[in-house]
Amino acid sequence: MYRVQTEPIDLSELVRYVTDAEAGAIATFIGTTRNNNEGRKVIALDYEAYPEMAEKELARIGAEAAQKWQIRRMAIVHRLGPVQIGEASVIIAVSSAHREAAFAASRFAIEEIKKTVPIWKKEVYEGGEVWIGTQTGQPLQR
């Protein structure tokens, strides 16, 4: 399951999707929106995507993870549009026979999302807003 959506992400839907009788582990990662960035108070966030390509890239990340580790099933859902502070912007769920693969694959997926998936975050501050990554023309170091 590799998807972008404007509705809130339902963790239990992803967990159900990756649940597998041969799995001994399910790892989940939830990326949430923070109320501050580089010393500024963030009052609102807005995500935009190139949706067709974003879903394709999410699927590529899943396929690559499956080549690197013995995982059973994987789901990645990223939220688009306005997201309230503290809500989930991305959720990753992955199942595997043994826990190491699930931990490693979920870590890999979030790192890759930040590098290659065409999704952009706009942060709104009091008195201004910015597309993250474009302030200096270089991607932010995370």
Partner: protein, 81 residues
């Protein structure tokens, strides 16, 4: 030939439009298209920005030739997650 260009995020705001059809000569590359667009939309020139390029939803190089009907997207630094 004609290609469809889609703008997202900072480039969409700077272009003032989400999509444009651009006429190009045969053999034109992604870089040629970008140069032409900057003439039509001068604000697209974001100082210091590092762009990636996608044709038909796949990352490509700036010297890749375009074909009639291609969908081209200039990808500003991504910030999902």
């Amino acid at each position: 030939m004609k290609v469809r260009v889609k703008f997202f995020a900072i480039l969409r705001e700077r272009a003032g439009t989400a999509e444009v059809i651009q006429e190009l000569s045969e053999g034109a590359t992604v870089a040629d298209l970008w140069r032409g667009l900057q003439k039509d939309f001068p604000k697209l020139d974001v100082p210091g920005i590092r762009l990636l390029f996608a044709v038909n939803q796949n990352y490509v190089g700036s010297n890749d030739p375009l074909r009639d009907g291609d969908e081209v997207v200039f990808i500003p630094p991504v910030s999902g997650g």
